[in-house]
Symmetry: C2
Subunit: 448 residues, 2 copies
Amino acid sequence: MKNILVIGAGRSTFSLIQYLKQHSTNEDWQLTIADFNEEWAKEKAGNHPRTKALKFDVGDAEARVSLIKEHDLVISMLPAHMHVSVAKDCIKYKKHMVTASYISDEMEALDDAAKEAGIVLINEIGVDPGIDHLSAMSVLDTIRAKGGKMLLFESFTGGLIAPESDNNPWNYKFTWNPRNVVLAGSGGAVKFKQEGQYKYIPYHQVFRRTEFMEIEGYGRFEGYANRDSLKYRSVYGLKDIPTIYRGTLRKPGFCRAWDSFVKLGMTDDSYVIENSADMTFRDFTNSFLAYNQHDSVELKLMHYLNIPQDSDLMDKLSWLGIFDSTKVDLEKATPAQILQHILEQKWSLEAGDKDMIVMHHIFGYELNGEKKMIESSMVTLGKSMEETAMAQTVGLPVAIAARNILNGNISTPGVQIPISKEIYKPMLAELKEYGIEFIEKEVPYKGY
Amino acid sequence: MKNILVIGAGRSTFSLIQYLKQHSTNEDWQLTIADFNEEWAKEKAGNHPRTKALKFDVGDAEARVSLIKEHDLVISMLPAHMHVSVAKDCIKYKKHMVTASYISDEMEALDDAAKEAGIVLINEIGVDPGIDHLSAMSVLDTIRAKGGKMLLFESFTGGLIAPESDNNPWNYKFTWNPRNVVLAGSGGAVKFKQEGQYKYIPYHQVFRRTEFMEIEGYGRFEGYANRDSLKYRSVYGLKDIPTIYRGTLRKPGFCRAWDSFVKLGMTDDSYVIENSADMTFRDFTNSFLAYNQHDSVELKLMHYLNIPQDSDLMDKLSWLGIFDSTKVDLEKATPAQILQHILEQKWSLEAGDKDMIVMHHIFGYELNGEKKMIESSMVTLGKSMEETAMAQTVGLPVAIAARNILNGNISTPGVQIPISKEIYKPMLAELKEYGIEFIEKEVPYKGY
């Protein structure tokens, strides 16, 4: 019998825990679901005979150690900065560990200790990061095995609303953490490489430098650049690749409209707006426009941002209510917090709404003197408000990785991300059984 | 006899040290000029009988204490973050101190100790901050003494090239620290208040939200907003004032052209450009524009920023050489460092060039039911490459404050800035003798 500990029982753990329960009898597992919020843990555990729920504070070192000691593998679904203390205990007591978060420098520094302890410590095994690694490395290794030379790698992921629930002018709703959406792209310049040339985009231009792509059966999308695409060169073994670009997907028109908020300064999270509680949505918008005794907020905004009155863009902005006299009612709020609040009035999921995760890779390479291109796309749809596309694509890879570690299929020790064949091959095969599948097709080569 | 210690002998100390030497016999002063760069100290000291030069490292606590102990008053012309250790020693050994820098939180925290020691510790007594405080408080106190109610306060300062040396399309040269010019406005949103409404401008729009003003004899200027105008409300006793705005002056057209660099991302100092040493100015410009195999860098830039080909703006950009094939030749440089380097090729002072400091305040108030407005302007011209307008306007207030402290005319102890009548009245009178004079005039009231 093996004991699995899941720390954190938030929204993203639904499919993870469902998978673990389903396999618990066959695999002879006992599950412990631990969360600071005991209700969440209980709800996720349900009445399952092999599952128990616990209230747990990860900051309580004594409780943490005694809990970890009782288990064979720990899955941490906590916020990224909370993983390290768990990881140190896992190393000390020789327990395997899985997280879906980006590897931090502190986590990376534990590599030697993890190897010495002989434990597998996999990070970045959710959707993005996670499924992007698995699917990209699978195609890259295939191309390289044939002797192909990589010329271009582009990769896009988007968490969106499913077509059946897409009923607003932005073609967007909050299917995940709204704060991350509001702050997306902020905090530093974008870096990438196109045809051998390094390219940089400042935050305030990111949403005007998009590119379009078509995904079969789902129509057109636009991608805006993620912060640092360059670091993926070393991760994926693409040191000298002339073009590398990673981005985020939206439906067309979203980025140009979002750019209005960036240009106005509404996405700034670094200072507090005076009297934020007493102002209206309209006052908030006006605070970014010059004073004038007579001119309307609408006209000032259209003129400042050079937006035609009869444009879709102006429709999108008006529909959100940024010119309305609704009270903000948030004390000491930053512009980004107020904007999030305004967006939540309109972009929150309604009962029955389904989400969608879209991933799209483009691989350009040269083989036997010929330039070739492969596109590889995945679309996962939410099945319910609980079994969302996000919960499936984050949780299933984590669960499958855990199973493979406990079965000995993944056994190379150390702190790692899922880029080795040992990991991605069985995982992609099993994800396919759950409907998480990439459609690959050769397309005519086009450069950037 | 009194002993004065001047720490720091850089460019801004010319007029300061000249003043101290000139008064040293009458006042019976001995001067010590101390700098880490002994040559600078010697050069500034010259052969003056009452002046000696020393090599001095402010980080050497023992040397610092023994030097401070020998003097009655210390003038620190070091960079702002180096003042605090000097200030602590001054308090310990009961020596007065003067600096031209913004008061830091650490400095402010020494107020009680300075009061207890009975020493005067004046900060912000250069030009901006410094002369702006003196001149603004003088008018504000006069208005308030008459029973006027303040409605509006705007204040602008610019370090510019004098008209006689103004011979380039930007009407601008580096008359002071180029790095500060390149980074001006970055690092946070601008905050001010117009007619009772709080207004915010994100960094990337600051140079598009300017206002024009006319200064008699010197023509038209444009002002862009400084970062936080709101904090001056408490400093100047303007708690409920409906309009407060502080800005920086340039000649018209500068800001719109500078905005191109901001929009491209060239003023970013947060990351290093790849291969910066090997790239040309043209490559640098191109790195902020989308890849295209055929289109020229010029056309891509004009299209991206929506600049007509036949505009003054395009003239300004081309004249600077940003499309030239000159090598950058800087290792691991940030965009801001490379931009500074490009600008220094064209904006550096030539032999004989003179600088100019321009200050312009606007006061709006209500008196006996009538709305009134006063404009108060000062223009100081450089006399030589050494006796620049900057050296005069920074150094003379510091020197005059030191003399008034030693004479007992300024005697209120504590950490302070020059906003009390005790300080500004004698200082403005003496500055006038040196040609640093404000022209006040009543103008018809106009709101914002």
